[in-house]
Point group: C2
Chain length 210, copies 2
């Protein structure tokens, strides 16, 4: 990606601030389109989003989106790129705290639209769009695997990482996508306390018959 | 639904067997369409399925699907009706075995296309189609809640049921939809042994701070 790549989670709302008083430049317009695309993909998934809806949300002509990103595939890839960069890495932390930090980091991610929308876009699209499924596989294989205690074999680390992913993404699916009560409105501290022992065990506990 | 409703998981392949030698009746054609619809919704989700693809899969004219089911909404509702009826209820079992039976029942469900397709259709559609999301909420609120130990309050039973749902559906999402390795090809017995303690704890264990 070009050096003008947008930090997904900068949270500064810079583009919006800059807009007042002068005409937006090409880079600013590109960032506006990416933000709009994240909202639309997060709301409707890849299959439900159209270039027209994204153009409407970004308040630009659809031809401009084609100019910048060529296709819906292109705008999706750019919109969700680095969407998981904000998942915290706990490598420098005490081992006993890793599970709790991972659960907290995941809940924090969902609490802010800047970090939530690209991840929600991937989660809503992965069941029916191969490119989003590939991004999810990457997330779990690469980033979650970094949490797994060193010194275990490759297969065991992979299984542990995918088990953690199954619990955290299952939580996001029911809590934030399908919105099943009472989970959807449960206090985040309750979720941290309930999920941490599960994630701790998947990360480093005894997994008979491993 | 009419008395001719199809048992989702009869697995007899009756319609196919009957076809030889005589012209299919209306009821048989209707069942063929439902089977085809389950395969198409399971493969593409609600948004990706069309009446035309379903008609092609069922080898009938699309007008016939409109005749039987009026709309795509109608054929989806009929195709996934009772799709969770096959999730086993363990009420008559020893309490200590409930978690394991639930995990085994869920894995068995995924091992047979007759029971898997309608559930996969709902799971693939729920992130972007409200009616499928409502079916998932029903499943967890109604059927999974039956597993929760008696004698707990309504809110706690609901939270326990949704936690179990988050782990089992997260597993299905990563293992059977997104197909993340090594989880996707892990031995079912390994999954039973790894997930049972989690499900047992969500069902009946200590969930500080409940």
């Amino acid at each position: 990606m070009a050096p003008d790549a947008e930090p997904v989670a900068d949270g500064t709302g810079r583009a919006r601030g800059r807009r007042s008083g002068r005409r937006p430049g090409a880079n600013e317009t590109r960032l506006d389109i990416l933000r709009a695309a994240r909202r639309i993909f997060a709301a409707y998934g890849y299959g439900g989003a159209t270039m027209r809806t994204i153009a409407h949300e970004a308040d630009v002509d659809a031809a401009l989106i084609h100019h910048f990103f060529v296709s819906k595939e292109g705008v999706f890839a750019a919109a969700v790129e680095d969407s998981f960069a904000c998942v915290p890495i706990a490598a420098d932390d005490a081992p006993g705290d890793v599970g709790e930090r991972l659960v907290r980091g995941f809940l924090d991610l969902w609490s802010n639209p800047d970090t939530r929308d690209p991840v929600l876009a991937v989660l809503r699209s992965a069941p029916t769009y191969d490119e989003a499924a590939r991004l999810l596989r990457d997330l779990i294989g690469r980033r979650v695997a970094e949490y797994v205690a060193e010194g275990v074999g490759h297969d065991e680390a992979g299984l542990r990482a995918t088990l953690v992913g199954s619990q955290l993404l299952g939580l996001a699916l029911l809590r934030d996508v399908v919105k099943v009560e009472p989970l959807a409105s449960a206090d985040p501290e309750t979720i941290v306390r309930v999920l941490t022992p599960t994630v701790d065990r998947y990360l480093a506990g005894e997994l008979d018959p491993l």
